[in-house]
Symmetry: C2
Subunit: 361 residues, 2 copies
DNA sequence: GCGCGTAGTCGAATCGATTCGACACGGGCA
DNA sequence: TGCCCGTGTCGAATCGATTCGACTACGCGC
């Protein structure tokens, strides 16, 4: 009878054996088999061995995660919502570092990361994927919407660098203060006319000069905060919104700010990311300006390595990986029911070789 | 009685309402509620409306994905296994492009991507995450192991650029042939002494000269194939295995190959990735060699954009995004029970400005 | 006017595990 | 000798949905 077990010997698409089958073969009840398998509960060694043998014989691959997650009310999956296309989001090393930090923590806790892109109207994932918690990163525009959906599902929400929102645990960065520090550095060097290259401010990532009503139209929290930080010090700064956090977009923005007579262009530019800063430097190079002689450039992020091409960028170094870890930890704590305290990270000013006093003209 | 619905008005951790609760409030059976909600089956408009109203009142967020996935035997999740740490894997734009291609297809089909890293002994994800299929990318060393686990779970497996393996649907690239094409290009230019910088060949990513017994110790399929392609044309080529697919690792390898008397170093280097190639070019620059005057360099991948820094690299352009799409499609087909045919992609040789005839010496 | 098909609804089984409470048995302690 | 408790095992409820088969009316055709 139970020798139907041998079915699996060779056949084609044999259905996955269940715990019940294992129990039957081992001659014990399902509950005992479960106990034996999970190690919880008192089970005699002999029984344990028989169950193990039966499982082995049937090729039982362990409890079905679907059934398990239903019963336990946990799926062991944490959703990560990324606003843009993956290829866009991952162009910036900061996002990768962030994700790496998250993966570091959640991976260690045995949770998987479910990547949810928010492109188009693909709400499907957010509204119906099996998750225990969700981490929003780089989500600006549609934040409210996403939060509403997720909240209705009763999932804990962690948001990295988002504006305060009811029921959302924030992982913050001192964007405004840090940017102000960078700006003050320029002021102390003697700069009085500076430009700002911002990250995309609104949903439509169209590169353009900063509109006067940017406060009203801005939906990207990080960009807005960093901009405020600069304006705190230089209320008159001219701005240009880049189309993305890439070198190319930075170059484009840089060319726009540096166009015109040398006497009328800013003597320093604050870029809201290091990639943008590198682009600005490239633009300066193209219009024949020397950095930092003719133009000082400040970045943000503190990326390292190849992309910099050996440049020692003056920038604000943010602990991206650590930020990711904090987000991961917070998500885990929340889904454990425990309270998680919001984290706030601080960027460190790194004076590099791309800033200097303005050339007297 | 049923006014307990109002509990959710403000309270703390109200448990998520179930379909049963909705049905009760609407005064219909659970089965009818289910039918009404999913739209399947004949339900009168009046009933549908009442169910919808009840769901609305209770704040029902739709069927619990966990229960759904148990019943349906599907979780709507596709696992993507990445061998290394995310920050390492995503340093190479090719991997991002690949993932983007996968996400493109699976996202459109409503499936989420579960990121599983294979760092350490963290088999947890692979062996127990709720997934419907799995895609292995850049998995070399521990391929067999991973495949064994997943196969026992009865999941369809798609592997990108892996060696043939029973029960695994391969998505291939003409690594060997394409590399040979690159090598023949060098031969036709007149080079007779070339070097190869390979991607990591084994688990331990230690940079070192290619050992004589590399065939035996190599576990990375892609690297090995690309190497074979070059050796097909230049059996005597000297090799150096880089520690990663990064510019820095390429530079390091380049310096190693270019050390010594100018007369004894290779006149051309084939790098197994564009990032490595850029590193090699940087190394050449450092030791005072001009590319392509003193040294020709061939890459692999066909990355574009900033990292290249304006270099027109001679390389083999592979359709990475398309490869990802194919992998995604294959996974979807397999989990639909349908047969999926393996895909094989072809790289296109792009003659750039980094190769030239060797300087006569 | 009778029977049959169908729209609409419901009850119950099912997916595969976990876990609580109950039960039987044997040994230690009073 | 009798009682209690811990160990090992089992049955049954439960998680939350989907879906099959059955049942009730009702309308239509013959």
């Amino acid at each position: 009878m139970t020798s139907e077990a041998s079915t699996g010997e060779k056949g084609g698409v044999r259905p996955r054996p269940t715990l019940a089958a294992v129990a039957r073969l081992a001659g014990v009840s399902v509950s005992t088999a479960s106990l034996a398998f999970s190690g919880a509960g008192p089970v005699s060694d002999a029984t344990k061995a028989r169950v193990a043998a039966a499982a082995d014989e049937l090729g039982y691959a362990g409890p079905d995660p679907r059934a398990q997650s239903l019963r336990r009310g946990r799926s062991g999956i944490i959703g990560v919502v990324i606003e843009e296309r993956l290829s866009d989001a991952f162009r910036d090393p900061m996002n990768i570092a962030l994700l790496d930090g998250i993966a570091d923590v959640t991976g260690a806790a045995g949770s998987g990361l479910l990547l949810l892109t928010e492109t188009g109207d693909d709400r499907a994932g957010i509204s119906s994927a099996p998750m225990d918690a969700i981490i929003l990163i780089g989500c600006s525009t549609s934040l409210e919407e996403a939060v509403a959906i997720v909240r209705q599902r009763g999932l804990p929400i962690v948001a990295v660098e988002a504006r305060e929102l009811e029921g959302v645990l924030p992982i913050g960065l001192d964007n405004r203060a840090a940017s102000a520090t960078g700006a003050r550095h320029l002021r102390s060097l003697g700069h009085s006319d500076i430009g700002v290259v911002t990250l995309p401010l609104e949903r439509s990532h169209v590169p353009r000069p900063l509109p006067a009503d940017w406060e009203r139209v801005a939906t990207a929290h990080t960009s807005a905060e960093r901009l405020r930080g600069v304006l705190d010090v230089y209320p008159e700064a001219r701005g240009f919104a880049a189309s993305a956090s890439t070198i190319e977009a930075g170059r484009e923005a840089g060319l726009a700010l540096l166009a015109g007579d040398r006497a009328t262009v800013p003597t320093a530019i604050v870029a809201q990311s290091d990639l943008l800063a590198i682009g600005v430097i490239r633009a300066a190079d193209e219009v024949g300006m020397i950095v930092p002689g003719d133009l000082s450039v400040v970045g943000f992020d503190g990326i390292r390595g190849e992309v910099l091409g050996g440049i020692d960028l003056t920038t604000l170094v943010q602990p991206a990986v650590e930020k990711g870890r904090a987000a991961g930890r917070a998500a885990l704590q929340l889904l454990d029911g425990g309270p998680a305290e919001p984290a706030d990270f601080t960027s460190v000013f790194h004076p590099g070789g791309t800033t200097a006093p303005p050339r007297t003209r």
